[in-house]
Symmetry: C2
Subunit: 222 residues, 2 copies
């Protein structure tokens, strides 16, 4: 018997899971949220995503979908008369997908290393992360958001940078996104964080900071 | 001044570039093909794909698109009245994208290790590749092709296995896709290789085998 409605399996600390929540909020679609304990995943999560066993998972009328970017595209297609997340033009869609893939494959890896490296190695990965974001910044030129005048697919995919990256910087004692190095990106951080949907959904900063501090100490002590 | 028409920058040996050719053939779209020398990339390739500098790149009326899976989706959207590559249903589309991402992220890495490892380590990665393909095989259950009765997006994405994997097996002295271990996958190999568009576009087997033998020897000698 299929469950009716919309359910999101996430984890409050996950920057991938929040993409799904942002997409649903943009569409104005209500959902039930299940917060997973990644050390003790629920049977429901494992049943809905037996292949990768990861959050986020969206369950829509009993049918599960995994992988955050795929879920965001699904939400845009399943509620196609609502707020448009993907660009309408095929070429613009391809560009948005290209930059999303570039950010996930290249920039996220560099940002993760900023969190885990120290000393000279850290200075090097900070430069690499900046270089990656500098390349990504081209997709912002002449625009308010990556999606143009309003938040779109690429904003949803890289939006976590605006909230998680300052925390990573604080914990690791680095400065990656500065007005000097990445002026368009920095200005977009402020604009994105002022969007109502974003403000409504972000986890508490103090709690996120404390968890990331604890993780960082644990990483450096091993 | 934008170039008119459709141009593909590929490399005859690349299993990613042939995805773009298959998608265009399925749509019946003619194109100019530029074969790149990866040791000496053309200025045109570097201009069209300055970010990753990789093939394949599709240039449509002067506008470049990179990344094979993104290009295939673009082709389906830009020539939307032709042969349908993506499933029409949003949920089926999400499933096709999920399996494509799973294959590219997990199975391709395992298959690459079959090519590069030897001895006991190789036996282990053969088992891992089989396990990955066994998981992927679920997407074939009860169907002729991954796309159903006809070739679709996922067939285009993983179709290279049917031609490149037997060559990898021959060069590395392994058996990954056997009738005993992967019966649905093995039967799909034969069906996919019998598709006209596929037969028309595959590079010469003897040339591909010779190149892969040379690469394998070079890898093992370093």
């Amino acid at each position: 018997m299929a469950e009716k409605g919309v359910k999101v399996f996430g984890m409050w600390v996950s920057p991938m899971a929040i993409r799904v929540e942002w997409a649903l909020w943009l569409k104005g679609v209500g959902y039930e949220y299940v917060d997973e304990d990644l050390a003790n995943k629920s049977d429901a999560l494992l049943r809905h995503n037996p292949v990768t066993k990861k959050v986020p998972v969206l369950v829509h009328d009993g049918k599960p979908i995994a992988e955050s970017t795929i879920i965001v595209e699904y939400i845009d297609e399943a509620w196609k008369d609502g707020y448009p997340i993907m660009p309408a033009d095929p070429y613009e869609r391809a560009q948005a997908r290209f930059w999303a893939s570039f950010a996930d494959d290249k920039c996220n890896a560099a940002i993760y290393l900023v969190f885990t490296e120290t000393g000279e190695a850290q200075r090097e990965v900070v430069r690499e992360a900046q270089q990656c974001l500098k390349t990504l910044e081209k997709a912002l030129e002449g625009k308010k958001f990556f999606g143009g005048d309003t938040v779109g697919y690429l904003d949803v995919v890289v939006g976590w940078y605006t909230y998680w990256l300052p925390i990573i910087q604080e914990v690791s004692g680095t400065s990656v996104v500065t007005h000097e190095e990445l002026p368009l990106m920095k200005a977009w951080f402020d604009r994105f964080l002022a969007v109502d949907v974003v403000k409504e959904t972000l986890p508490p900063r103090d709690k996120l900071l404390a968890l990331n501090k604890a993780r960082h100490e644990q990483l450096l002590s091993t």
